[in-house]
């Protein structure tokens, strides 16, 4: 019962996000601040992870290809496929559920427990629009981060491949150009947009509707991470089933 209630409340929140919009002159600043907090501040960690995990994917693939009949270009090909299809959109989103998600839940949750949300509502402001909408807009730039992750993942693979002596640079580059299917990019970015929406709204929900004090803010952040990850994994499955098979 309480799950159904929460799901209903979540969709009502999404509806309320677009109601009674905050003055544009104020909203503009909120959006820029959230772009800075959520997008710009994530580029560093995402780049770092993408580069090195891309390298590991390449090494693992190369080490498993012991049959000399398999062409060397396959290393680059396999790295590209796994980075673009799964690693960048899904794996990075799970990490972002931890980084961006807990940031959103704890910042909104703190505003809830210190009555800052009440203060907004007393003034007749739609607090959901004021707090959640700018995060939603900021995360529409999330595909930008995922593009960087794709690029750096493949680059990291290249570095690992060449430095580890698994294949030549030419083989790797030929591999990443092999059998390229543009629809795979569409699939990856549809997923990215869906995950961006989840990353903006599920953590906001957990922060906005929490009750209690500082301890509960911490708990809400953990719960929000769990549910955001679950939603990402489930929708990943559903979208893959729908678009690729």
């Amino acid at each position: 019962m309480s799950y159904l209630h929460s799901i209903g409340q979540y969709f009502l929140m999404i509806k309320a996000m677009f109601h009674k919009p905050t003055k544009w002159s104020v909203m503009r600043h909120l959006i820029f601040k959230d772009i800075d907090d959520l997008i710009i501040n994530s580029i560093g960690i995402v780049s770092f992870i993408a580069f090195f995990v891309g390298g590991v994917v390449t090494i693992q693939t190369a080490l498993n290809m012991t049959n000399p009949l398999i062409p060397k270009t396959l290393v680059g090909f396999a790295t590209r496929q796994s980075v673009i299809l799964e690693f960048a959109p899904t794996f990075i989103s799970i990490i972002m559920a931890g980084k961006v998600g807990s940031f959103i839940t704890s910042s909104i949750g703190t505003m809830r427990v210190t009555e800052q949300i009440d203060a907004l509502e007393v003034m007749g402001i739609n607090a959901i629009n004021y707090l959640v909408f700018p995060k939603f807009v900021a995360l529409m730039l999330y595909p930008f981060i995922i593009s960087i992750a794709m690029f750096l993942g493949i680059l990291g693979g290249m570095a690992a491949c060449v430095f580890g002596g698994f294949a030549s640079l030419d083989d790797y580059i030929a591999g990443i150009q092999l059998d390229f299917i543009p629809f795979h990019m569409l699939y990856a970015f549809v997923k990215t947009f869906v995950f961006a929406f989840l990353l903006a709204t599920i953590p906001s929900y957990h922060g906005f509707f929490m009750t209690g004090g500082a301890l509960e803010v911490g708990k809400a952040s953990t719960t929000s991470f769990v549910w955001t990850s679950v939603a990402i994994i489930l929708l990943n499955y559903i979208l893959t089933q729908m678009m690729l098979s």
Binding site: V26, M111, T114, D118, A119, E121, V122
Partner: protein
Amino acid sequence: MIEVNDIHKSFGDSKILKGITTVFDKGKTNLIIGQSGSGKTVFLKTLLGLYTPEQGSIVYDGRNYSDLSSDEKSDLRAEMGMVFQGSALFDSMTIAENVMFPLRMFTKQSKSEMQDRVDLVLKRVNLGDAHKKLPSEASGGMQKRVAIARAIVNKPKYLFCDEPNSGLDPRTATVIDNLIQEITQEYDITTIINTHDMNSVMEIGEKIVFLKDGLKEWEGSNKNIFKTDNEAVTGFVYSSDLFKRVQKMYLEEDL
């Protein structure tokens, strides 16, 4: 003037407000007192429209809240100022930005008009030189004064304060009390203050409503609260030794 008629409010199964009727006058400091957990904050938030009562009516200068359209409700909200129990300042904004916030949201004033108004109000609460500080860098008493400044910057008709001086030293507490009373008289607004501080009761209790378990147990003013024989009230008032002595003095005076 706010007329409250038979207000009921519950959360789930627990009844918090069980039928409160009273009137809060304009230009006066109205106090709501009572023990912790008696429902003061819930009552105040109901008056603010944050909670919807299940039963009863609240009339703001002739406007019955439940009869208003949502636009009219927004207009009414813009006439209210609130000082929260924990100040509730926006911690990502400086003090000046906090005070300017209601102006930015609800008026079409130019930047310099808004700045002038913020300067004036911050001076009014003796914070003329704290514009650039963040709330986290201000003391508790300063935060309370910023909260008052934010509540009055847009010239409200109704001012609500939830324990404006809790956690402050007696001297700062008196300063805050007097500030609220002066502002109330100066701008002729309807002010309602939650408190369990007996000093405030004596200083600014022009009208006092005593709540007990979600009901109005007694009402009067600081002139007659020391003379009532209502046991709940006397139990509350004379819970400190100081006031027992004050009571003795009163009695001796009468003899």
